[in-house]
């Protein structure tokens, strides 16, 4: 899995490319989050557009980083999840944990809206 990083407004966007299945991916992903939080960037959007699929270990990686960000007073949302991934988030009730958007605009604005 490849991770590319960019910024829009107050948000850091992580464009993932590949499959999210654990293994070495987990470490790379965690390192990116750590470095973002160290730079005080606490609004993180995980772009799943180019993630063809995810398994439960991959979900675990997302949850781990979500917990880290929340623990640091920030927030994480996902965007552009495929129907396949949406249905996994729904079945595992993770859609109740972190928000999922279909538009980058909405995802970016979600951090500034009243919570």
């Amino acid at each position: 899995m490849k991770i590319t990083q960019r910024e829009v407004g107050s948000a850091a966007i992580l464009d993932l490319n590949g499959k999210l299945t654990g293994g070495p991916d987990a470490d790379a992903f965690r390192d990116v989050f750590k470095s973002l939080l160290e730079q005080n960037k606490k609004h993180i959007i995980v772009n799943l557009e180019k993630v063809s699929w995810i398994n439960s270990t991959g979900l675990g990686i997302l949850i781990h980083n979500y917990n880290t960000v929340r623990g640091a007073g920030g927030d994480m949302v996902v965007m552009h999840a495929s129907e396949r991934i949406e249905s996994i988030l729904y079945v595992t009730k993770l859609n109740l944990l972190f928000k999922s958007f279909n538009s980058e605009d909405e995802a970016v604005r979600s951090f500034t809206a009243a919570r």
């Binding site: 499959k19 299945t21 654990g22 293994g23 063809s52 699929w53 398994n55 439960s56 270990t57 979900l59 675990g60 990686i61 949850i63 781990h64 917990n67 129907e83 396949r84 949406e86 249905s87 996994i88 729904y90 079945v91 595992t92 009730k93 993770l94 109740l96 944990l97």
Partner: protein, 147 residues
């Protein structure tokens, strides 16, 4: 090759997550070939990937010399897959009784929940060769994952 003489495809992979994508790609193409709907294709692929992930991780502990054997069968329209690892199994009866699933914040424990949600029937069997998971998806059925 006697016992393989049924209309099924067999995939035999090392205990390495690198091979999961090939299994996923194969089942997706096959389910399309057997006229499964796009939703049903997603469902069976997702459940199968979960079963293989568990076989690789919990069954074979990523051991390079242990294999995961997957069979894919379209039986009069319905889909039946088995995933066999070389491990010693676990208390799957207990796991299947646990309807609730894990705490939302927990980083683990969603594989069986996902397999159950995306299939119509889920069975485990353990013998001296290892643990076998059997996943069934009826052509008409939708599991309970339909949105």
């Amino acid at each position: 090759m006697g016992k393989n003489n049924v209309e099924q495809m067999i995939l035999n992979i090392p205990s390495d997550l690198k091979y999961l994508g090939a299994v996923d790609a194969a089942i997706q193409d096959l389910a399309r070939e057997f006229s499964f709907s796009p939703d049903a294709i997603n469902d069976v692929s997702t459940a199968l990937v979960e079963a293989c992930s568990n076989a690789i991780e919990h069954g074979n502990h990523f051991a390079k010399d242990k294999r995961v054997v997957v069979t894919l069968r379209f039986n009069g329209g319905d889909f039946v897959a088995t995933v066999q690892d070389e491990g010693r199994g676990f208390d799957f009866a207990k796991a299947l009784r646990d309807e609730a699933g894990p705490d939302p914040m927990s980083e683990r424990g969603r594989g069986i929940l996902i397999m159950r949600a995306f299939t119509d029937d889920l069975k485990f069997k353990c013998d001296d060769k290892g643990l076998t998971v059997e996943l069934t998806k009826l052509r008409g059925g939708g599991g309970d994952a339909g949105q």
